[in-house]
Subunit: 383 residues, 2 copies
């Protein structure tokens, strides 16, 4: 293999590839990338045995060939080579070394045969459903569910987002649902053409993290193929194929409180600020702190008489409270307790918008509505 | 004590104070700040028993007083209170609690009596020398030496920068010297008026780190007082008094190679880039990697015939080399090995300038000249 590529292109491809590479694997080939030179193109492939990423860049190929090169070193070299330079890669000669050059800089390193690289990922792409979706919409499905994925390995079927087609508000939509038992996130978007026949699949946390890094929100629409065993996502010059979590996602609808309209609407930035103010005095634990929220309380003193939400917390060191104006349906005031950390994890995804709160009673889960694009459920906490 | 302050002023003062506060101290009072309200001013004091920081902000004081408040909570409250709001603090009533309010938010927390706060720091300010120095000049003395300070506690006298008056190039200057045994940094600046009588003192790493955070490079000149036991630094609304390390700094001049002019001058960014290029193939250890530098080598191939510096490294995985043009005094080519990490630690402070290299022979320390403001010494390494 003798091939010449642009520094920026190789560096960018290697930045993508190292997301998948297992740096500290006990299997030497997994710390390598498979480099394949064909006429006009260089293909970089990385795998961790669960996922396989291929990035294709333009190249001037003098001799076609394939060889596995150490991923960390190749990435570091590509990043450090002079900006704008051409990097020449020669590999597969008798001594099994790769020789690289860019400007006056030269590198030589040990390589492994291309045949040793795990071949998984090519066979598993049997189509079940295939669809196109704009990059920002799919990225949002990931971002609005990935944070709630469980990290507890005993319940492996919760270690991913449940990507499936479901009916909400009388319409079939594409949904991504994740839960860790304390909170549940439902991200939804309009059903893309062709996605209707998609099986419900659990996309692993690691795959979602890789996609968060790979997807260019301003780039081309994504080409997605989903079978019962694998998901393939493609955009521009990269393609990720990943195994799915083999398990049954629980019937999450059971924990989502029913009811039509939120009982109150709150300004998300104001609620975030109020939580930040009472938090310093809340009892602290590793997983978060309880705060009490009273919807429809009377203002403590002064100001107008409009009903407010009163946020309060108490701990060993003292207590704190704050109030914020709400858009309230009226009725009996309701108070409930939640873990501030879980509530904040939803608010962090809301941006500047409004959030609707639905509370049946103090002991039932709290439902949050965001824009029709996201529903959150937070378990109550005794305060 | 009843006092009202601006949110931004309190938040800024508390951000400064928490640099000194010991969050996880077994002595409860050390996780507090002493809050003192006098007519028109609120003083916040933090101490870790080695250093004492006082920040003074404007206040509307209704009742003078003094009380120790939990530092972490006060800092979090000040940061979270609404921007532009007035924060009212009331403390010292019968129940020993402090009550704070800002807008509709309220807080109550336990406090400790002001008398319990350690009084150290007031008595130790006996003057020995007192001088003014522009903030950027003193900050550079710190930045250009602090990185080389030893963290090895057995040689406690190396756990700080040796701030003293010394003669370099026939002129008396203010010097800050630090070493960890592998590298030595000498930062120097013109002698400020009044500093001539200053004793040589060792300023602890922690004190320098605090000063790096406290000093506003665009702010007022610093007022510095140095005695044999303590250093006091004052700028605008803050004043830090810190104990010094009680020990004798070694006679560092012995390890600085003599000789007049550097044998070669190299462009610092080009040298940094070349080191970055060979580093991926260098043998790696926790403390760094050896690289070989050949000064005055002939270019490997092509290009002009001007002598170059050739940077190279080899490890288990392979080898790498790069070359860069130099401004060379001529003579016999010299080659030597250094730890790339130590060399880079000096280059990181050079910015875009040139660096001069002085090498007596491959086994002797390497001397680096930067702008006349900094001298570095790096121990050689066998390659």
């Amino acid at each position: 293999m003798i091939v010449t590529v642009e520094q920026a292109a190789l560096s960018s491809a290697m930045r993508q590839a190292v997301r998948i590479v297992q740096r500290h694997s006990t299997i030497p080939i997994l710390s390598h990338v498979l480099v394949t030179a064909t006429t006009g193109a260089l293909e970089i492939t990385a795998t961790d045995l669960d996922a396989r990423l291929t990035v294709t860049i333009e190249a001037e190929t003098a001799v076609n060939g394939q060889r596995a090169l150490p991923a960390g070193q190749l990435a570091a070299i590509a990043a450090a080579a002079a900006a704008g330079s051409q990097i020449r890669i020669e590999a597969g000669a008798d001594d099994g070394r790769a020789r690289l050059g860019a400007g006056r800089a030269k590198w030589a390193m040990a390589t492994l045969p291309g045949e040793d690289f795990p071949a998984w990922g090519r066979e598993d792409e049997a189509k079940a459903a295939s669809f196109r979706i704009e990059a920002p919409r799919f990225l949002q499905l990931i971002n609005h569910s990935a944070f709630a994925v469980s990290t507890e390995e005993t319940r492996y079927y919760l270690n991913g987002s449940y990507l499936h087609v479901g009916e909400t508000d009388g319409e079939r939509r594409l949904l991504a649902v994740a839960t860790d038992g304390h909170r549940l996130a439902i991200a939804r978007t309009d059903l893309p053409d062709g996605a209707g026949e998609m099986p419900g699949v659990i996309v692993a946390r690691q795959t979602m993290a890789a996609l968060q890094g790979l997807i260019d929100a301003t780039g081309n629409a994504l080409e997605i193929r989903v079978s019962a065993a694998a998901i393939a996502v493609e955009q521009g010059d990269w393609r990720l194929v990943s195994k799915l979590i083999d398990g049954a996602f629980p019937d999450y609808q059971r924990v989502v409180p029913s009811g039509d309209e939120p009982i109150a609407r709150l300004d998300a930035p104001a609620l975030r600020a109020a939580l930040g103010r009472v938090r310093p005095l809340a009892e602290a634990s590793k997983t978060g702190s309880p705060v009490k929220i009273e919807i429809g309380a009377s203002p403590a003193e002064g100001g107008d008489d409009r009903p407010v939400a009163r946020i309060s917390a108490r701990g060993a060191g003292g207590e704190a409270s704050d109030e914020l104006a709400i858009d309230w349906a009226g009725g009996e005031p309701v108070e409930f307790g939640v873990n501030v950390r879980y509530l904040e994890s939803f608010l962090a995804r809301v941006g500047d918008g409004e959030v609707g709160l639905q509370v049946i009673n103090p002991g039932s889960p709290v439902r949050l509505h965001v824009d029709g694009e996201m529903i959150g459920v937070v378990m109550p906490m005794r305060v």
